[in-house]
């Protein structure tokens, strides 16, 4: 499940300020440093009160969450929002049950009161609980720091420069055939101070950036309209991601460009406008079986929906049954060596990859982050777990998958980065396409929908190019691929090597009730899938 309506709801005027996110501040306020001594003092108040109240374990998160959004269309700035949210969340384990409470008041009294409230909730929950919480052990790390290695803090770049950049993006698109264009910039900084009764005091400074755009072309005479979204990825980087460094580009067949650790937004806006216009004239795809060559800018979302989500342990166990759903990848499948895909398919989970949205030093329960295999040589080998779930898998340590989207939200299991390992043999995209007789070459994130157990999925894309006898031919329209998860990954017949490896990502992935968002990356090299069902989505009204 992803927030389908974030962009439309992050709308205009006073209404946008009423979004449930923090208070609006001046841009300069986003650069004020946090007071670490105060944060440690508040944390110690919570830990002391929890111990005094009989807690077996307590963790406290003193959080400052900063978000900046600049929203534009054509020659107009629709909105600029600088938001800050500050507060303290306290989680306690008492009598084998969790309790959580949070306060926006950063005073010792308020934190002590929140801790007592959390203890009372734990006590009440313990009465109704049929099985006690079992926590995988964590060695305290004392005082530790981790920061996203940004070269240019996006929040330090003046808003005027951002407006100027987006205005030139829009102008470039309009000049190259777009009738309408929308571009937005989101910069996020999470300043999280974590402390626990394990003896950890962890200070983290986490940065993320995203610049989505959409170019629209209209043919009034026929009443047709087509759009092409930007091909960038949201990243765990600073403003340097927008430096248009040629070294971060990937020259691809069909005259296309892929983007790795650097994004050339003007170049992509020009391409988007031209593609949107070309899509108006492109022929409609013939339905049937095709060999698909899928670029990482499209494949990331298939990995997210068909591998990332079904291997979330809380979903597998049934905790998400009423909202996000359950999973076909039940625990017995790991025992029986379930074949998730062909033997060349290897999925790796991590919370460490530089530049990724999931990269942090420690998760939200103080676990040092790492990398582990989910699917090895096509066989299911593991899931994604937090400290209170690790024992279910027979593990003695957590995977470090705990995350809360705010100080006021309780942390729970969230997806780490999940990536398809590149092929071991040398293979370029051009060479991969040479071997395809009748296929489609797919770029960009389109529509996506998947069932509640993650079997049946349908994905669109931004660009579908026909492949005829090993050559990239013209654009086709109205195509979407329909898959069943294990058959799709079983049909993976080739994966390009690591030279083509790139990240895609989801900036607002939703889960839980009340719903929380998280950001996560998925890496892949271009991959080939044989005999996939493609439907035609054109209709007449």
């Amino acid at each position: 499940m992803q927030r389908r309506d974030f962009l439309s709801s992050a709308g205009l005027g006073l209404a946008a300020l009423m979004l449930p996110y923090g208070r609006s501040v001046a841009a300069e306020a986003l650069l004020e440093p946090a007071d670490t001594a105060l944060r440690k003092r508040l944390a110690d108040v919570a830990l002391g009160a929890a111990r005094d109240g009989g807690a077996q374990y307590c963790d406290v998160r003193v959080g400052r969450y900063l978000r900046q959004s600049v929203l534009t269309r054509e020659a107009q700035v629709r909105n600029i929002v600088n938001a800050e949210s500050v507060g303290v969340g306290v989680r306690v384990l008492r009598d084998g049950a969790w309790g959580f409470a949070a306060t926006s008041q950063t005073t010792p009294d308020a934190v002590a009161a929140a801790t007592r409230q959390a203890l009372a909730i734990a006590k009440a929950n313990a009465r109704a609980q049929t099985r006690k919480v079992e926590l995988a052990p964590v060695q305290g790390v004392g005082e530790a720091r981790w920061a996203t290695p940004v070269r240019k803090n996006a929040l330090a770049v003046p808003v005027a420069d951002k407006v100027e950049l987006l205005m030139s993006v829009n102008a470039a698109a309009l000049k190259n055939g777009a009738d309408f264009v929308q571009s937005n910039l989101f910069a996020i900084n999470e300043q999280k101070y974590f402390a626990s009764t394990d003896g950890s005091y962890i200070d983290q400074d986490i940065h993320r950036i995203w610049l989505p755009l959409t170019a629209t072309a209209v043919d009034k005479a026929s009443g047709k309209f087509r759009t092409r979204d930007g091909l960038s990825a949201p990243m765990g980087m600073g403003f340097e991601y927008l430096d248009a460094d040629p070294a971060g580009k990937f020259a691809l067949p069909g005259g296309l460009t892929g983007y790795g650790r650097s994004y050339d937004v003007i170049e992509d806006a020009i391409a988007a406008a031209r593609h949107a216009r070309a899509k108006l004239k492109a022929p409609s795809a013939k339905p049937g079986k095709y060999d698909l060559v899928i670029d990482p800018s499209n494949l990331f979302l298939t990995i997210h929906e068909n591998v990332g989500h079904p291997l979330e342990l809380d979903r597998v166990l049934g905790y998400e049954a009423n909202y996000a759903g359950t999973s076909f990848a039940t625990l017995d499948k790991r025992e029986s060596g379930y074949r998730y895909g062909s033997e060349r398919v290897n999925f790796v989970a991590d919370k460490t990859r530089p530049g990724s949205l999931g990269a942090v030093g420690f998760d939200d329960e103080g676990v040092k982050t790492r990398e582990w295999d989910l699917v090895r040589d096509g066989v299911l080998v593991d899931y994604q777990a937090t400290r209170d779930e690790a024992h279910i898998l027979g593990h003695t340590q957590s995977h470090g998958c705990s995350y809360a989207d705010s100080w006021s939200s309780v942390q729970f299991q969230r997806m780490p980065n999940v990536s398809l390992r590149p092929g071991k043999d040398k293979l370029s995209v051009a060479d991969m396409i040479k071997g395809v007789e009748r296929g489609l070459y797919i770029h960009g994130r389109g529509s996506y929908s998947i069932d509640q157990q993650r079997y049946n999925a349908q994905f669109g894309g931004q660009l579908f190019f026909e492949i005829k006898n090993g050559q990239v031919a013209g654009l086709v329209e109205d195509a979407a691929y329909q898959i069943r998860t294990p058959e799709f990954w079983a049909s993976c017949s080739a994966i390009c090597d690591e030279r083509d490896f790139r990240l895609g990502g989801s900036f607002f992935d939703g889960k839980g009730q009340p719903s929380q968002v998280s950001a996560v990356s998925h890496g892949a090299a271009t991959a080939r899938f044989d005999g996939i069902n493609v439907i035609n989505t054109a209709r007449a009204l």
């Binding site: 009423m18 905790y319 049954a321 009423n322 359950t326």
Partner: protein
């Protein structure tokens, strides 16, 4: 204390307006107390109460607009938030689509508040969870559900003397029930303003029955079928379509309501003549605030009348540019229907498919509002007016515009819950021909 009285709200808002040195000022005060309880695997998993209140101030100098919010209300704090909004306005670029604040309005109150809902306490929530879990445990079924309830207020004022205040309550309960072997799944949902009559112990029986009866599902070939969509199944498709009732989008040529050669389809026959959609903030079955987020008064108005498009949403800017009258954007959607229940529609069906609920609906092609999604929590084959057997879930690729041209019969509207839309909706069960299922899903 997050629910301010009208007098308390007015005092704060009047101070804000008086403090401002800007050309125009408007302020909006909102507060809510929201409680929730979540359960899964027949156990309570989390519960909590969140209480919050916030003041947003918007000021303008010429066409430059600045906004700021705060959650403290002493005089110094009010001064701070006004000055911050003014500072931001002076730094902001000119907005070419700037509109002056609205004039003084008169609002007719709507029945959005129910004392019974506002009185909900942790014990009530725990009982809802227990009443959902208990019968399931006894019947060897597994319940996972969520209840979120709340009371709230909104108050606003501006420098032209406009003022509005109203309180509201909300209640949203959903529960998914699965058979212990994972072969059957059922669902129930309630969205209410007044929770006084809510009974989890009777509602849960609906989900339990669907769970039990949907096990042993048989596969049916994908294709075009006559379907009966229960109100919750239809609501997700219809609410998605309503996103395109925007006049500007249509006039710009990027909506299914754009006309070939330019302009929009206002007044044109787009649906079966039996389709009637209205907005009515005062409908006691689905009341909403009598104003939209900008404070524009909402009206009781037809949106689709006898299948013809009767109204599009004009923003104040677009209305002025096109010489139209702007009215408040609708907050609810009431679709007319007949008197029959879903069960009565089934009785009158020779061959067809009953769909309890639709899920993960996403746009495939905005040109035709082609949507994809899946059925879940009880999909059944109907023969000779009877439910014959459960069938496996389907993926559909269907446009609500096409669907509302293929109506066989409409039933009695009910208020729907658990939809991704912000609209409060009354939707009838509907019998439709040629609904397009494109593949099977193994998901239960």
């Amino acid at each position: 204390m997050s629910i301010f009285t009208e007098a308390q709200s007015k005092a704060i808002l009047d101070k804000v307006v008086a403090l401002s040195k800007a050309d125009e000022t408007s302020a909006r005060l909102t507060g809510a107390i929201e409680g929730n309880i979540r359960f899964a695997l027949n156990n309570i998993s989390t519960s909590g109460v969140v209480s919050d209140v916030s003041l947003a101030v918007q000021v303008s100098f010429g066409k430059r607009v600045g906004m700021a919010t705060i959650n403290e209300f002493d005089d110094a704090a009010l001064e701070r938030v006004v000055r911050r909004a003014e500072d931001l306005a002076r730094l902001a670029p000119e907005n070419p689509e700037f509109m002056p604040i609205i004039d003084k309005q008169s609002y007719k109150p709507s029945p959005t508040f129910a004392a019974a809902t506002a009185a909900i306490d942790p014990e009530f929530r725990a009982k809802v969870a227990a009443d959902s879990i208990g019968p399931c445990r006894e019947a060897k079924l597994t319940a996972a559900g969520f209840l979120e309830d709340g009371q709230s207020f909104v108050a606003f004022a501006n420098s032209k003397g406009n003022f509005g205040y109203q309180t509201a309550t909300s209640f949203n309960y959903t529960c998914t029930v699965r058979t212990d072997d994972g072969r059957g799944s059922g669902w129930v949902g309630r969205d209410l303003t007044d929770a006084g009559s809510f009974k989890a112990e009777s509602d849960i029986r609906i989900a339990m029955r669907k769970a039990t009866e949907s096990a042993e599902a048989k596969a049916l070939e994908p294709g075009k079928y006559t379907v009966i969509l229960e109100p919750h199944a239809a609501a997700g498709l219809i609410s998605f379509m309503m996103n395109f009732f925007d006049a500007r989008q249509a006039d710009e040529g990027r909506s299914f309501l754009s006309k070939k050669g330019g302009g929009n389809k206002l007044g044109e026959q787009v649906y079966d003549p039996r389709v009637n959609l209205i907005a009515d903030p005062w409908d006691p079955r689905a009341p909403v605030m009598p104003w939209d987020v900008e404070g524009m008064p909402r009206e009781k108005m037809p949106i689709v009348e006898n299948g013809k498009v009767a109204a599009l949403n004009y923003s104040r800017y677009w209305a002025q540019k096109q010489g139209k009258r702007a009215v408040g954007a609708p907050g609810n959607l009431i679709m007319a229907g007949g008197d029959k229940t879903t069960a009565e529609l089934v009785k009158g069906t020779q061959k067809g498919i009953l769909v309890t609920r639709t899920w993960y609906i996403r746009m495939v092609d905005p040109q035709t509002v082609l949507l994809t999604g899946l059925t879940r929590d009880g999909t059944f084959y109907i023969e000779n007016g009877q439910i014959k057997h459960p069938i496996k879930n389907f993926r559909f690729n269907e446009s609500p515009v096409i669907m509302l041209n293929n109506i066989e019969e409409l039933g009695r509207p009910v208020r729907v819950a658990g939809d991704e839309s912000t609209l409060v909706m009354m939707i009838p069960p509907m019998k439709l021909r040629d609904f397009t299922f494109t593949s099977l899903s193994d998901a239960v």
